[in-house]
Amino acid sequence: MPDLFVASNHKKKKKKEKGFDNKEIIKDKGPEKALAAFAIHPQGVRAEIQDSDEETILFLRRHVITNVGWITLILGLVLVPILAFSLLPFSVIPVNFRVMAVIGWYLLTFAFAFERFLSWFFNIYIVTDERIIDMSFVNILLKDISETKIDRIQDISSKTGGFVRSFFRFGDVHIQTAGSTPEICFEAVPYPSSVTAVLNDLILQEEQEKLEGRVK
């Protein structure tokens, strides 16, 4: 007689989709890839404020595709001197000044590109087994680090909207907290629903630890 209802397999499958085993979506983005925007259990990556026994569970930064705007702008800026010298009459300017103007232009273009890259590279979000950390290097001179304990998280929501975000599967994760920072936002991170699932798992674990009296 055929089975009418098999509950156990379905449950297992659902658990795999939600929990930490959701590694198939990031199999090519391991911790060894320093430019990865999404890594589970990255080896060797630590924030200064982490405790020595604190395990890094998620490492996130803005999706790589968010860099397309400024990279396109850089390509345009690289072409400006070539176009300017072919279209405009610069012969009245001495050659040495023209050379220095071009060098100066490319220096500024490089500085802009490097600053944008550093802003992307160091704007990171770390989820550990104890807390979430939001490290923002707004520009080359402004550093802002906010963190909150997992047990202070009150509400998590993720948002993915628009064609590009849906196509490349990235979005924002908003985390309401009871700490001094009322909201921490993981902006434009890959797989926002997976991040939400991981955070929910951590909250449950933390609650379990509290019930069992194993809170650090």
Binding site: V45, F97, M100, L107, A111, E115
Partner: protein, 81 residues
């Protein structure tokens, strides 16, 4: 003749070297850029102290090479302008 054109003409007649003024401006701008390059090196160092274990040396190398180029161009401006 506008007041500005009159001013420029007076400068030219008084033997004022316009390109010398541009040179000074170039040197000031490159000096500021040199300062910016030093800040980048320091900030990169601070950033890697805050976050350990990611692509440290290539980015530090780029920052130092950038500072070296900024120094070279600052000196070059004195020589060729």
């Amino acid at each position: 003749m506008t007041p500005f054109e009159e001013f420029v003409q007076n400068l030219a007649l008084s033997g004022f070297n316009f390109w010398f003024l541009i040179k000074i401006l170039f040197v000031i701008a490159l000096g500021l850029y040199l300062f910016f390059a030093i800040i980048i090196v320091r900030q990169v160092k601070i950033m890697f102290e805050t976050l350990k274990g990611m692509l440290d040396w290539p980015i530090k190398l780029i920052a130092w090479v950038h500072l070296g180029i900024a120094v070279f161009i600052f000196i070059l401006a004195f020589i060729i302008l």
